[in-house]
């Protein structure tokens, strides 16, 4: 059922997705649906639900923490935000990712 492109995307997501979640939280805390919508707008998440096991792992690793906040439109919402450890991990990823992706692009140059 999976096309070769889907298989590649699955592999690529594995190393990158958790840092994309951290990057989404860089500016301000966000709640689940908000994060899920943001990440499925592109090709980063296969489906919105796959975000949640990932968020659980990020919390367990101490990169993200959650707090309940009152909502104007309904029941209180769980907001996720970066911890200091999460900020450091995101910075390390960004610093590594840029030269890494440049190397990949350079080596793929001319590939049809």
């Amino acid at each position: 059922m999976d096309s070769p492109a889907d298989a590649v995307l699955t592999q690529l997501r594995k190393g990158v997705l958790e840092y994309c979640v951290l990057a989404c939280l860089r500016q301000r805390p966000a709640y689940g649906l908000e994060l899920a919508t943001q990440l499925t707008d592109g090709r980063l998440l296969t489906s919105e639900g796959t975000l949640y096991p990932l968020l659980s792992r990020l919390r367990k690793q101490g990169l993200v923490e959650s707090t309940w906040q009152e909502s104007t439109s309904g029941p209180p919402r769980r907001y996720y935000q970066l911890t200091d450890l999460g900020i450091t991990a995101l910075a390390a990823f960004a610093e590594t990712w840029r030269p890494f992706s440049e190397d990949v692009s350079a080596i793929l140059k001319g590939t049809p």
Binding site: G32, T46, G49, P53, K60, R77
Partner: protein, 193 residues
Amino acid sequence: MNTTPSAGLSHPLVVAYLDDLDRALQSADQQERVDTIAAVREHLTDALGGNAEATNEQVRAALDELGSVEQIAAEATPAAMTHTSAPPAERIREGGWVAPALLATSIVSLVIPFLGALLAIGCIVTALLLLRSGSPRRPLLHATVAVSVVTLVFTAVLAAGNLAFSTFTTEAPSVSSGSDPLPSVVVTIPSQP
């Protein structure tokens, strides 16, 4: 099953979906299972706007966006993996700074005469203990033992050299005793007429 805050969750399709999700996550890490189900419930509460009268279409659309329970379960860490993968990772982290520190100490011991030998012996003992406990930093620990052995050899050579030198210097005076320590200076003052 739920009251006002998450009334949309009582829709039969949602109830069935959450049950399926719980089953799909049975073999997942337990914390991830609990967190994921709670987060998906919150997600649906937000997506359906706490609307008790959500239509089948609205509910289906929200569940489609969430994706299949199998997709979600595939993203979760299997329960068994968290047990097998954690200890080696921890061991590498724990042994992470000890092995390089030992190697650095053994190198320092090279340039400290005599006291370095004590350091080297300490390094050898610690490195051997770590090697026996199955530390993953084997090359560094082997290097530590090698450098420390070199320190001990150097110290032994230095000690032997010192001994030879001190024997030589204690015998030395008898060799030089015959020679005149300082040549005498004779100053001749011409007599005035």
